[in-house]
């Protein structure tokens, strides 16, 4: 029922022809979780969020990967280690967060599609933004990678690479 409703909304907007292009677009993101040869490896906690480049404020959180199943602390005890995201967005959210919370991911490229019809992208005004991927790893380090993108029209993919805790992060508006 829900799905058909949103489809209807879409076609209605499409027919009108004046819908903000943002609504039609998706954000395709690939995050490479690096394979690390360390004695004690834990999959990183990762937050993926949108940043306003002008004032470095957060314009919404797309995903947070953490160990929500942890019996001890439900994983939330370590969310603050993704310090930039925690300060700008995380600390005012409650967890688990619908459509945002997810399990930690294994090393390798992680392909993600964030629908422009949902979450923070739904109301995101067209313009310049950074996609920020921030990783924090138990007994490891912390790193944030920023990739600029233009919301509102399809564009060529942009890539930035982390040095320690993250590999390549690629963002494309499609």
């Amino acid at each position: 029922m829900k799905r058909s409703l949103s489809l209807l909304t879409f076609s209605a907007l499409g027919a009108a022809g004046v819908a903000t292009p943002a609504l039609a677009a998706d954000l395709n993101v690939t995050v490479e979780v690096p394979r690390l040869t360390v004695a004690e490896y834990h999959k990183p906690y990762v937050s993926i969020w949108i940043e306003n480049p002008a004032d470095a404020t957060a314009a919404g959180t797309l995903a947070v990967w953490y160990d929500a199943d942890s019996k001890e602390d439900k994983g939330v005890k370590w969310l603050k280690d993704m310090r930039q995201w925690w300060r700008k967005a995380g600390r005012t959210m409650s967890f688990p967060a619908d459509g945002v919370s997810g399990a930690t991911r294994a090393p390798g490229p992680q392909k993600l599609v964030f629908s422009g019809a949902k979450g923070p992208l739904k109301d995101l005004k067209p313009g310049q933004y950074n996609l920020v991927v921030e990783a924090a790893r138990e007994v490891g380090g912390q790193e944030a990678v920023r990739v600029p993108f233009t919301w509102g029209k399809p564009g060529a993919p942009a890539t930035a690479k982390g040095a320690t805790e993250l590999g390549a992060v690629t963002v494309a508006v499609k």
Binding site: E72, K74, K80, R83, W86, R87
Partner: protein, 308 residues
Amino acid sequence: MTFKKRLLAVAAGVALLALPLAANAHRGWILPSATVLSGESAWVGVDAAVSNELFYADHNAMRLDAITVTTPDGSVEKVQNPFTGKYRSVFDVPLSKPGTYKIGSFSNTVMASWTENGEVKRFRGSPEDFAKQVPAGAADLKTIKSSNRNETFVTRDAPTTTVFAPTGKGLELVPVTHPNDVVSGEAATFKFLLDGKPAADLEVTFAPGNSRYRATPGDFKVKTGADGSFKVTFPEAGMYWMNAVVRTGETGRRPEGGPPGGPGGPGGGMGGMPGMGGPGGGQQGPATPLAGNGMSASYTATLEAQRP
């Protein structure tokens, strides 16, 4: 440290944490294990001590009697798992509520001298006891009022400001920038109130931790403006000791207690406690009157500048 001063330090005992701490005097500090936390299972462990180097417990433990925890809803709790060792005290604070906690102490002390039946009388105690024990309209009444605040702040989840509601007593910190939202390299703004009014032209000292690993301590000073506010940019991430003192009139410091007047003297830490174990104080011999009226208010906090 001379033997006599050692005795003084011991005698100061309970009151040690409440002393006005001058620039080079022993510094009282309350150091939380973390200042920014997440999730309902969060606790902080806290060290409290008095020492020269920051934050190395190598001199005296801070007494925990006066330390309380103010929770985000304003209620006051006792510390948990308290322990006082030789060099430091330790306790825990469970952060059972989301928001900002204040951990610290406040003391208000009045010293007085007056003449009664031709004899000099002395008093030292709380303002409440002063009102009860010192006769109204006492002859030759002189008072030295001192207040001392020493605290730190920790936040679970989003920061709140309930614990910063001014009481109008002594020197108080008013956040413009929340103390748990301070990041190195970014300007932070704070404001000081003295007895509820803007503390203008107040010198505020910042001393970074880890001084043991530097040839120079790295202290720096800023001054408040007319509205009591000031801006500070912490050069590096880490824990900082912040201190400000207002002093007018008589300090009550005895000449033999160290270089008079200057807050930098080795006796500075004993300021506001004249006659403690010395001649004329307490029970030994006839009491000497205070030289005049005075006041002092001191504020100390341990703040963390976060890594960007």
